[in-house]
Amino acid sequence: MIKIENLKAEIDGTEILKGLDLTINNGEVHAVMGPNGAGKSTLSYVLAGRDGYEVTAGSAELDGENILEMEAEERAAAGLFLAFQYPVEIPGVQMTTFLKTALNAVRQARGEEELDAIGLLKLMKSTCKNLGISDEMMKRAVNVGFSGGEKKRNEVLQMAMLEPKFAVLDETDSGLDIDALRIVADGVNALRAKERSFLVITHYQRLLDYIKPDYVHVLADGKIIKSGGPELAHELEEKGYAEILSTYEKEAA
């Protein structure tokens, strides 16, 4: 379970998150939608622990532990996973080396036994197969020369291997055509489980046709301003954000 309370964060002195509350129970998928500049990406980076964001108030507890006090790698070990909007290219670091290092670092931190080369290869092969990723891709450097779709599939591959308790998908649909979107969504859906929760951050309703959320929230001005069921996403798609925003502004005034 992830419980975010009164989260405030700023970049270079500018407040972006202004008291965000959000609770996601195990097994639930929540979508956060919002206009550009609402703080969607900031939320994902603050949760994952990227440098440059200062948390000024609030907490984010993953199974009772405040992850905001941890280093990025400790959060990953604790069970948080961020699927990047723009996966980073790392020339010179081969996919297999990367996966092995990451998986064993996480397993070690979780008190699990490290995987040997054969165990890793087996796991990698079966996961790749499920996601339609070629073995050849594993011989390349991390994300280097990958197409947009391959990069996002690679994020899902890492998610599947690291087995997080809580996964944040930051605009996973951006830059994907409909076929790639379906493959990625299928990969995510396959990982849905009783003990795992998801936060799907997106600008468009389209992704939510494939990854069906239990709850939808509207993020604007650094806060959740409206929450509802999956129908809220359709409402937003039809009417846009303007109406909800103006209602919110009137209430705030």
Binding site: I90, G92, F98, T101, L162
Partner: protein, 363 residues
């Protein structure tokens, strides 16, 4: 002339970035004492993999100065004036050494040594030499290596400069390469408080080639200087310089690479690349590429970059659970892998990797 007075100063263009006399201050007493001798061959071990080949011999008396046409003769002269010790390696015609020859040079505290090596490969010979420099304490090793590569001969030369961090290492390598001969050199610098790795390669016969690669790993207040001159003196020759420097803390890296294409050297193919990674704000890298071309039909260029670790890449790795220090090490290894992966000999590449990992762990 005493050794101290003959030292090159920063007034010399080729020594602009490296203040040798200042770095040698603590050795002044040793250097001033005439009795100081290279305490010898006990410190030089050559575990032959072949049966002690008769073509490897100790230098027993002062050797002639050689015909080196050096641009800066200072250290050469210094070494010549000092007591001599070292080896002569004469690889016979068409001789192929199977396994690499390993040479271990060990420095001891308060020593000043000036070993001399003469390595000659006769026509068609091939030699792979691993030169492993280690030691403990403060010492100055000023080595000279004269290399003559005959027609079609190939010399693969690996230098692991892993000296004590209190030592000073200056080494002059002078290679003369005849027709279709090849000099392949790889230098890994992880040691010495100050090192000057000076390579002078003369491409003397048609089709001669030299491939000079190196990785310089510098931390603390160490200085690592690589200064290269390649003389293209014949047509159809090829030269490559490919270096990576990782400079942390308050360390200083120097790379000076000169390619001189003589008028006769048509169809020269020369390329030089020096990339560096700076790990701290106080780290310094001085890079000076020089091309001097007198022939009109040549392909000759150079490239250089310097930058910091990619923060986005670092975060990406950490977000996948890889601890920061390990993530940095991965990115540094990735940066230097473009050069280390060119080591074709598996065992030697593993030796290099082990030294690199040791350095990264201590970082």
């Amino acid at each position: 002339m005493t050794l101290m007075k003959s030292l090159p100063t920063q007034k010399l263009e080729r020594w602009k970035y490296t203040n040798l006399p200042a770095r040698l201050k603590k050795f002044e007493r040793e250097i001033a004492t005439a009795e100081i001798t290279f305490d010898g061959l006990n410190d030089l071990i050559m575990p032959y993999t072949n049966d002690n080949p008769d073509w490897v011999n100790e230098i027993t008396s002062r050797s002639p100065a050689g015909e080196a046409q050096y641009k800066d003769m200072a250290l050469w002269t210094a070494a010549n004036d000092a007591p001599q010790d070292g080896y002569i390696i004469d690889v016979p015609v068409n001789y192929q050494t199977g396994k690499p020859l390993t040479m271990i040079m060990t420095g001891g505290n308060a020593e000043q040594v000036s070993p001399r090596f003469i390595i000659r490969l006769a026509r068609g010979a091939e030699l792979t030499l691993i030169e492993h420099q280690t030691g403990e304490g403060a010492y100055w090793n000023n080595a000279v290596m004269q290399i003559e590569i005959g027609d079609g001969a190939i010399f693969n030369h690996y230098r692991f400069q892993d000296n004590s961090h209190d030592a000073v290492m200056t080494v002059n390598t002078h290679a003369q390469i005849a027709r279709n001969g090849q000099y392949n050199a790889f230098t890994l610098t992880t040691g010495a408080s100050m090192s000057r790795n000076q390579i002078h390669a003369d491409l003397k016969g048609e089709g001669a080639a030299c491939y000079l690669n190196g990785v310089n790993l510098l931390d603390g207040k160490r200085l690592g200087d690589t200064t290269i001159t390649v003389e293209h003196q014949a047509p159809h020759c090829e030269s490559r310089q490919d270096y990576r420097s990782v400079v942390g803390d308050q360390a200083t890296g120097v790379f000076q690479g000169k390619v001189h294409v003589h008028q006769i050297a048509q169809q020269t193919d020369g390329y030089q690349l020096s990339n560096s990674l700076l790990l701290s704000q106080q780290a310094t890298m001085n890079t000076k590429p020089e091309l001097e071309i007198y022939a009109d039909d040549v392909k000759c260029s150079h490239g250089t970059t310097s930058g910091m670790l990619d923060k986005d890449a670092l975060f990406y790795l950490q977000a996948r659970g890889i601890p920061k220090a390990q993530a940095r090490a991965l990115l540094i290894q990735a940066f230097i892998s473009e050069v280390t992966e060119q080591i074709t000999h598996d065992d030697i590449r593993e030796q290099a990797t082990a030294i690199i990992e040791k350095w990264l762990t201590a970082l």
